[in-house]
């Protein structure tokens, strides 16, 4: 190679990382390329979420004319698996393998379930809608098929995300975990945005054949992304494979985990805050349309504004938390951003101010980003080394259940107020304002629940585990990131 080309390559290599917001994540142990590759599992999870909650939601109602209530039931089925994330995480913690793997077998199983669900789903949806020759069949066949397909995808994505995040925690040194969390969230958003655009474009001219191509294409892409993500990531721990078996049950591990300092309060704060930010997710667009007379294009831009706010929140939180800022204070800053944001959205109705509404939506995104980042970073850094899967599984279980319940509750509360005789003649804004007021109350409760959590250090959280260590032979992590066999 000539000297000129050597100099050119060296220059390019030195310039490249400066234009990537997460380039400084790279460490000798976990280079950026490997981390980006690992985060591809989040892209597959984002794709599955958008396909089920966004694209298929519309396709089933508009193109396939399935009743909206049945669609709502199908879409909420994956939520059934959310509480099992804690169990999945625990199973991956204690998994014994001759190969010395803990996480890879679970990511592979989750990928298979996601693939299987998507492979079956298009036919199940077509039979559910009574298309083709299936019109004369009993309705339960289509319902059962679609139910199985949605359950499979739901189980798969919960498994992949829980164990994938546990693997990321295993690989990242403690000081880099905030940046890894940021990257994982950004990749989830990227997966959602890109796949929403691709699915929208691919289904412009809807035919049953095109539906099969799109969903089964998503199945293949899921396998490719997840296999690429986990390829050569987890090191083989021969000592773990050779270690004598000890009977750690889920109950023992759960009791240990929940007896950690303020563990219940941490979960309560995560649940309340997630619900507080998530209740209005599906109501922002109709509020803009019905109350502030936004057209369809403008309301779609609202979702983009919310996502942009979230992105800015994640990047900002990554930068600040990497300098050692307390993650619970960061989450509280998110809540303190969210409360005035919802007040602005409420005030937009009497003032007829579109600007106030858009600014409020943007700030809800920022606040939600700071809150999610803060709570996940806290979960990662406080997780005892041998119970990472359980800790992240519990976080995921609480977070996913609260988000799902919040979204459903938002819609139900709006509809109940709308139908109530008290709301007659009060204008279209009232049902929405009541939901936003509930969100403000939930965020205020979150803030109260988080006050005792400020400044908790990893050593505080593992105290209880260290005490119970003779039973488990566990390994706790010291505040400076070293491991201590206890």
């Amino acid at each position: 190679m000539s000297r000129i080309s050597q100099t050119a390559i060296r220059t390019l290599v030195s310039i490249g990382p400066r234009f990537l917001p997460f380039a400084d994540v790279a460490t000798p142990d976990l280079p950026l390329g490997r981390l980006l590759r690992l985060s591809l599992f989040q892209v597959s999870v984002g794709m599955a979420l958008v396909l089920m909650v966004g694209t298929l939601n519309r396709v089933m109602i508009v193109e396939l004319e399935v009743p909206a209530s049945l669609v709502a039931v199908m879409i909420s089925l994956p939520l059934v698996f959310a509480p099992f994330r804690a169990l999945i995480g625990f199973r991956s913690d204690v998994h014994r393998s001759a190969l010395g793997w803990r996480r890879v077998p679970f990511i592979w199983r989750g990928t298979m379930l996601q693939f299987g669900g998507f492979a079956v789903m298009p036919f199940a949806l077509l039979v559910l809608a009574g298309q083709g020759e299936s019109g004369h069949l009993p309705v339960w066949i289509g319902q059962l098929g679609a139910g199985i397909a949605f359950l499979l995808v739901g189980a798969g994505l919960h498994m992949v995300q829980t164990v994938g995040l546990a693997l990321a925690t295993d690989l990242a040194p403690p000081q880099d975990q905030p940046k890894v969390v940021g990257l994982m969230y950004v990749m989830l958003l990227v997966g959602m945005i890109v796949s929403a655009l691709v699915f929208g474009y691919a289904l412009v001219d809807f035919t049953p054949g095109r539906l099969i191509q799109v969903i089964q294409g998503a199945a293949v892409v899921t396998v490719v992304l997840n296999v690429t993500a986990m390829w050569k990531q987890e090191t083989r721990d021969r000592s773990r494979a050779a270690a004598p078996e000890h009977e750690a049950t889920f109950r023992d591990a759960w009791d240990e985990f929940i007896s950690g300092r303020n563990a219940r309060l941490r979960l309560l704060a995560i649940g309340l805050g997630t619900m507080g930010f998530g209740m209005s997710d599906v109501l922002l667009e109709p509020y803009g349309g019905q109350v502030l007379a936004f057209d369809v294009a403008s309301t779609t831009k609202l979702t983009a504004t919310l996502a942009l706010g979230g992105l800015i929140g994640f990047v900002f939180a990554s930068k600040v938390l990497a300098r050692g800022f307390d993650p619970f204070r960061m989450a509280a800053a998110g809540v303190l951003t969210g409360i005035p944001a919802f007040l602005a959205i409420i005030a937009a109705a009497p003032l007829h101010s579109a600007l106030l509404f858009v600014a409020g939506t943007f700030l809800v995104g920022v606040g939600g980003g700071l809150f999610s980042h803060g709570t996940l970073t806290a979960t990662m850094t406080l997780a005892p080394r041998e119970r990472t899967g359980l800790a992240l599984g519990t976080w995921g279980a609480v977070q996913a259940t609260a988000a799902g319940l919040g979204m459903a509750l938002g819609g139900v509360v709006r509809d109940i107020v709308l139908m109530s005789p008290l709301a007659a003649g009060t204008g279209p804004a009232v049902p929405y304002i009541i939901v936003y007021a509930i969100e403000i109350a939930l965020l205020a409760a979150t803030l109260l629940a988080m006050l005792p959590l400020f400044g908790i250090r990893p050593s505080d959280a593992v105290t209880a585990i260290a005490k119970a260590a003779p039973l488990q032979g566990g390994i706790a992590r010291l505040p400076d990131g070293r491991r201590a066999s206890s």
Binding site: S97, L99, F115, G116, V120, L126, Q131, E133, S134, I141
Partner: protein, 51 residues
């Protein structure tokens, strides 16, 4: 190359490791087979073939 009675060649894995990988392949094939069967049954309901 030193002969190691625990390892099987050409993979260089121990017998337990090789058996575990093999079990993943067998289980994977069964699960994918089940998904394929389910998809074919539903596809037949939608548009029967050989009719």
């Amino acid at each position: 190359m030193n002969y190691d009675p625990d390892k099987v060649w050409p993979s260089g894995l121990t017998l337990r490791e090789a058996e575990e990988l093999h079990r993943h392949i067998i289980d994977g094939t069964r699960v994918f087979g089940f998904f394929a069967l389910l998809a074919h049954i539903l596809a037949y309901f939608y548009s029967p073939w050989l009719g």
